[in-house]
């Protein structure tokens, strides 16, 4: 936390001190007015002490306002820094770290949990200064007035403390359960929002309604269970206060009659009774709040404590020599303890500038393979080399700058098309942008939009079709001017004609870039310089198209199935306008 805010955090309670001190003194002055001024019929005295009281009130006001402002600054600053630290931390996470938490959970932690913590922080600053001071000040004053009477607190206070502690600890687990169910319910809503087309297509509106009602009911029940415990606090406090008042009246009354106490003293004593017990109550509430927010705080700390899996070495290489890629006995698995590896003893050698194709296996193993190149994941064993050097030897920034990946899931962000494209190169000139879009065959459709490159893309890029998204993502990658370009099944939504056009453009504009094409269709990789066949996490064979046709059974099988009434691409784009 920044020093500035630490100062505010400390100052705020101090001003509270001032406020509290005044508030405690005032009833005492009150007693004086009655017992001295009125009893002695001394108007001047009354006036003087009255004015004194007003003066104290003004001082208290000043302190209170200052304290309020300081508390606001401190708590907002706290949450500001918390958010910033969390966000920065997450930006530093590797894919592995993100996977561990899941995106949805990270989002909740950065939003809801931070808000919860901030609220508690503010509450704590304001109350935790006030409450103990009020408590101590009130107790002191009460003792000053009459020690004997003050003895009754010895009973009242422990009773209250025990009650609060008991209720708090039993309520906490119930609240945790309620929050869990609440999360579940929100998750249902979220899913429905995303999948509304499926819901409507299968006419499952009613069904989803019932599902939701069940989860909302579960939340309701859990909430009642938790809250009905909390509502006990107030009545218990009230009883304690009331009984104390009655006790004070009885004993105090006796003392007044016996002449050991004055009437005015009793009056102020009674106000201190309320003050002491109320501040105890406040402390109790703080305690309960802290307990309830423990979950949020814990979740935030989990993120902050997480060490990023993949970091730049302390002295990393700053330049990538060329686009050559080597995999040497590489094995990988997502779960470090898992027995089966996703990739097993992979050996691949691609020369700089070559076009390499990868075919076969399920989608995920191919993607995993290429994710190792820009060090999105680290290998379990074996080495991945780029430009002749171990990827771990490079500084992450230059490494990732020289490797461009177009992922299977094309993600665009809200902002203009130009903004999105500039992710590839923030200093790209207009010519460079247009050139990249031409190569990716995106320029024509962008120009057809009324606002062209300034067209706003909605969240997730909703107003462009799937194929258009893909091409924008390719253009974005091209703008990086990378040494290695990885296309992960990214021309699946684009017709063959366009695809070969893009490939030709790539060859022309970026001849030295090593290109890796992951595809389902043999036709996409047919012309590659070298093709790798992946099967069951291992390299089954490699070579040119002709070589593989004659020597590799799997390749031949796939090729044949795609030729004869199989799945050779008809060349139609894969999605419609939206």
């Amino acid at each position: 936390m920044e020093r500035k805010y630490i100062a505010y955090t400390c100052l705020s309670p101090l001003t509270m001190l001032g406020e509290v001190a005044m508030e405690t003194v005032i009833p005492y002055i009150m007693a004086l007015i009655i017992d001295v001024g009125i009893a002695n019929r001394d108007i001047n005295y009354v006036l003087k002490t009255g004015l004194l009281m007003i003066g104290c009130a003004c001082l208290s006001l000043a302190c209170g306002v200052a304290g309020g402002r300081l508390a606001a600054v401190a708590s907002q600053g706290f949450s500001h820094n918390l958010r910033r630290n969390l966000f920065t931390k997450v930006q530093g996470f590797s894919f592995g770290n993100v996977d561990k938490f899941s995106t949805a959970s990270l989002i909740t932690r950065l939003t809801t949990d931070v808000t919860n913590t901030q609220n508690v922080y503010q509450m704590v600053i304001r109350m935790s200064a006030r409450a103990p001071f009020m408590l101590i000040a009130g107790a002191v004053m009460a003792c000053i007035i009459n020690m004997k009477l003050a003895a009754l607190f010895i009973i009242a206070i422990p009773v209250l403390v025990i009650a609060i502690w008991l209720i708090g600890s039993v309520a906490y687990p119930r609240f945790s359960i309620m929050l869990e169910k609440y999360d579940k319910m929100n998750n249902t809503v979220q899913e429905n929002l995303i999948a509304i087309r499926a819901v409507k297509a299968f006419v499952r509106g009613r069904y989803e309604d019932e599902k939701f009602e069940k989860s909302a009911d579960a939340v309701r029940a859990a909430q009642v269970r938790a809250e009905k415990l909390i509502v006990l606090l107030m009545p218990i406090m009230q009883i304690t206060v009331y009984v104390s008042i009655i006790a004070a009246l009885w004993f105090g009354g006796n003392m007044i009659v016996a002449g050991t106490m004055k009437a005015g003293e009793l009056i102020s004593f009674l106000t201190y009774v309320t003050q002491i017990l109320m501040s105890l109550m406040m402390l109790g509430m703080i305690f309960v709040m802290l307990v309830l927010s423990r979950a949020s705080i814990h979740r935030i700390c989990e993120v902050l404590d997480e060490k990023s899996d993949i970091q730049s070495p302390s002295v990393g290489l700053k330049t990538v020599a060329d686009g050559s890629i080597d995999f040497e006995h590489v094995s990988f698995s997502y779960n470090k303890k898992s027995e089966t590896s996703v990739l097993n003893d992979i050996d691949i050698h691609i020369k700089s500038g070559q076009v390499a194709g990868i075919i076969g296996g399920t989608g995920s193993s191919k993607t995993t393979l290429v994710s190792l190149i820009p060090r999105l994941y680290d290998t379990l064993s074996g080495t991945v080399k780029v430009g002749g050097r171990d990827v771990r030897a490079y500084d992450l920034v230059p490494l990732r700058d020289s490797v461009a990946m177009v992922l299977q899931k094309n993600v665009l962000f809200s902002g203009t098309i130009r903004d999105n494209l500039k992710w590839g190169n923030r200093n790209a000139t207009e010519e460079q942008i247009v050139a990249a879009c031409r190569a990716a065959d995106a320029d024509s459709f962008i120009s057809s939009f009324p606002k062209g490159y300034d067209t706003e893309l909605g969240q997730g890029g909703v107003n462009v079709s799937g194929g258009q998204k893909q091409r924008l993502c390719i253009a974005r990658a091209l703008l990086k001017n990378p040494k290695i370009l990885i296309l992960d099944d990214s021309t699946s939504a684009v017709d063959t004609a366009t695809e070969s056009r893009i490939r030709a453009a790539l060859k022309d504009a970026h001849p030295e870039t090593t290109k890796i094409i992951i595809a389902q269709r043999i036709s996409s990789v047919k012309d590659a310089d070298i093709i790798f066949v992946l099967d069951d996490g291992k390299i089954n064979g490699y070579g040119t198209h002709e070589e593989l046709l004659s020597h590799n059974e799997i390749y031949r099988e796939v090729y044949e199935s795609q030729q004869t009434g199989g799945d050779a691409d008809i060349g139609t784009s894969a999605e419609g306008g939206n």
Binding site: R41, I43, V46, G50, L61, G64, V65, A72, V73, S75, Q76, H80, R83, F87, Q91, F95, I107, T111, M185, E191, L193, A201, F202, V203, G205, E208, D209, D217, E227, K228, V231, P235, Q238, Y242, I245, I246, N254, V257, A263, I267, T362, L376, D401, L407, F413, S414, F445, G460, V494, R501, Q520, G566, D567, I570, G571, S573, E575, G576, G577, N578
Partner: protein, 634 residues
């Protein structure tokens, strides 16, 4: 959405009053309970007031007279205290009862509002979903209901008890001394003015804060979702600095909002001290001049203290109530949205053939309430059911999502029952739009052509029934959290285990499902996160298969399945497609090759149509797409 008048600190009465009325409507279900709550509030507030009142008589009647006595008789005093104890006990009990009931009422009100909100969401047209970001809708469910809950749980009860206390205390004060009461009122008036001013400023600042919070949270969501792209493009530093700007804005507005909120209490509290002092001074005068006794002033002072506290409470609660009402208004706005219009009257029912009673040789269709796999149209006012054949006609359909952007131009298609129509075309040519219209996710405006289904205009068919007859495998597979079995069963809730597994076998999903840790009972997350793209699509196909629909729409069904599995799926799909009318948007040769008619779309217009052989012979657009020649096609 906030109306134009809501930019001021206090919203226009019309909006607030309306919202309060709606809320009261929700709470009205518990009328009887509210009466009990009210009584309890009065009881507990009275006990509180009595607590203050006790001093005067205590001092005057039981203590002061006894001062100086040698053997004072405290029994009467003891008695009085005993009575007070009972009063207090009742008061505390009432406090408990009141809050316990409020817990019940508030949780139920929230439940009702939530279910109404969700129920409404299910009926809204797709247009609404495309126009509103998810985060916005989600915040209705989370933020807005949360503030509502806080309001119901805390603000409302506190407000009630404050009001009762204030009224009660006021009456007592008046009884004790009208003059002093006047002094008090003067001070309160001044305090109220101040509170209103601060309240207004606070509300404005709070609104800003909420807006900024929404922006920050939206940014966080988008960026964390797209974390992979950020990493791949080394965009971390930019993200951090962009975020910093938003964060700073939030901090600034939050500080302002909270400052105003925080100073309200000290202001009110200390002004009431001043008031206390003034009352004391005036009271002293009165006592000294013999017009009042000490006990009275003592009691009055106690009342003064207990008067200003609830007043301060009220002003504080007022703000949070306003905020909660703003949230409630947004919730009601969604609940008030127009649901999908459905003027259709014709239903689709399951039917079976039975002997006609009137003519022995004839068979007629009889409605069945069980799933038979045979479908028939039930028209209102007609006894005869008409068999569903699956004849779909697009008649000169012109359509655009926005009024100025037409996507389809004069599209004419005719699919005879059991035919397979393939739609091909480049990006944005209108293929998905065609299916959106067929399912009535979007409607064709008047006069721009029509789509008929077995000769019945689409608009005349009930939407639910229409959709039940159309099976869809969409471009984005949407699965739900639940078991594999449940997800497949989504297509037909009454499918038996056998039927589910048969559908899975047809889609060739059975093998991989059995390899999952719990087989069919494996729980998959949200959007099927722990399965590969291909596997998810297989499940989606199984889901459609189990629904056994007469018309099938396949939109990009098989593009992401790995090559080896795909051919198997293709064979299965062929079997599934038999006997059904199918609209296929795909780019696989096998799918298209066996089509009865291929429609080539370009910029929303049909430029070629025919069978594969016919089109190849034409050597037109289709020919070029098929042979993959690199001729500029756009």
């Amino acid at each position: 959405m906030p109306g134009p008048g809501q930019r001021k600190g206090f919203s226009k009465p019309k909006n607030t009053r309306g919202t309060i009325k709606r809320l009261i409507g929700y709470m009205g279900k518990y009328k009887a309970l509210w009466i009990v709550v009210f009584v309890a509030v009065i009881a507990s507030a009275s006990a509180g007031i009595a607590g203050s009142y006790i001093i005067k008589p205590a001092l005057n009647n039981y203590i002061i007279p006894l001062i100086g006595h040698q053997h004072p008789d405290m029994s009467k005093f003891a008695q009085m205290l005993g009575v007070m104890l009972i009063v207090f006990a009742v008061g505390a009990l009432a406090t408990w009862g009141n809050s316990r009931l409020m817990v019940f009422i508030s949780t139920n009100v929230l439940y009702n509002i939530r279910t109404d909100l969700f129920g409404k969401l299910e009926t809204l047209p797709i247009k609404y979903y495309d126009a509103h970001p998810h985060g916005e809708i989600m915040s209705r469910f989370t933020n807005d209901t949360d503030t509502l809950r806080d309001m119901l749980n805390q603000s409302v009860p506190q407000l009630m008890s404050s009001v009762v206390t204030v009224v009660g205390v006021f009456v007592m004060m008046l009884v004790l001394s009208p003059i002093l009461t006047f002094v008090v009122i003067l001070c309160i008036f001044f305090m109220m003015l101040l509170a209103a001013k601060i309240g207004k400023k606070s509300a404005n600042a709070y609104r800003d804060q909420q807006k900024n919070l929404g922006t920050v949270n939206g940014y966080i969501e988008e960026l964390i979702d797209g974390q992979r792209i950020v990493k791949v493009f080394n965009h971390e530093d930019e993200s951090i600095s962009e975020f910093a700007v938003l964060n700073d804005n939030l901090c600034a507005s939050g500080t302002t909002a909270n400052t105003y909120a925080n100073i309200l209490m000290p202001m009110m509290g200390n002004l009431s001290h001043v008031q206390y002092a003034l009352v004391a001074i005036c009271g002293a005068f009165l006592v000294i001049s013999g017009r009042m006794d000490i006990g009275t002033i003592a009691a009055f002072l106690q009342y003064t203290r207990s008067f200003s506290q609830p007043v301060t409470m009220m002003s504080q609660q007022f703000n949070s109530i306003l905020n909660a009402l703003a949230g409630a208004e947004r919730i009601f706005a969604v609940i008030d949205e127009t649901p999908e219009v459905d003027n259709g009257t014709i239903e689709l029912v399951n039917a079976y053939e039975a002997d006609d009673a009137s003519a022995s040789q004839r068979k007629r269709l009889v409605q069945s309430y069980a799933f038979t796999g045979e479908w028939a149209w039930k028209k209102p006012g007609e006894n005869e059911l008409e068999k569903l054949s699956g004849d779909v006609v697009f008649d000169h359909v012109t359509f655009g999502y926005e009024s100025d952007k037409t996507v389809l131009f004069d599209v004419c298609m005719h699919a005879l029952p059991g035919q397979k129509i393939a739609l091909v075309g480049s990006t944005g040519s209108g293929k998905t739009t065609t299916t959106n219209l067929l399912t009535r996710f979007y409607d064709i405006p008047e006069g721009s052509g029509s789509i008929t289904y077995d000769g019945i205009p689409l608009n005349n068919i009930k939407k639910d029934d229409l959709r039940r007859s159309l099976g869809m495998v969409l471009q984005d597979t949407h699965l739900f959290t639940g078991t594999v079995r449940e997800n497949i069963r989504y297509g037909n809730l009454e499918a038996s285990t056998v039927q589910v597994e048969e559908a899975a076998k047809l889609a060739n999903a059975d093998t991989f499902i059995r390899h999952l840790e719990n087989g069919y009972d494996t729980v998959i997350s949200g959007d099927g996160g722990n399965l590969s793209q291909g596997q998810r699509q297989l499940l989606a196909i199984a889901r459609a298969a189990v629904a056994d629909p007469p018309v099938l729409i396949l939109d990009e069904a098989t593009s992401s399945i790995d090559t080896r599995t795909e051919s198997l799926v293709q064979k299965g799909m062929d079997g599934l497609m038999k006997g059904r009318t199918v609209f296929v948007i795909a780019h696989r040769l096998s799918t298209v090759r066996n089509a009865d008619e291929i429609i080539v779309l370009e910029h929303g217009k049909i430029i070629e149509r025919g069978t594969h052989d016919q089109l190849m012979a034409m050597k037109g657009r289709y020919y070029h797409l098929y042979t993959g020649n690199s001729i500029a096609v756009e």
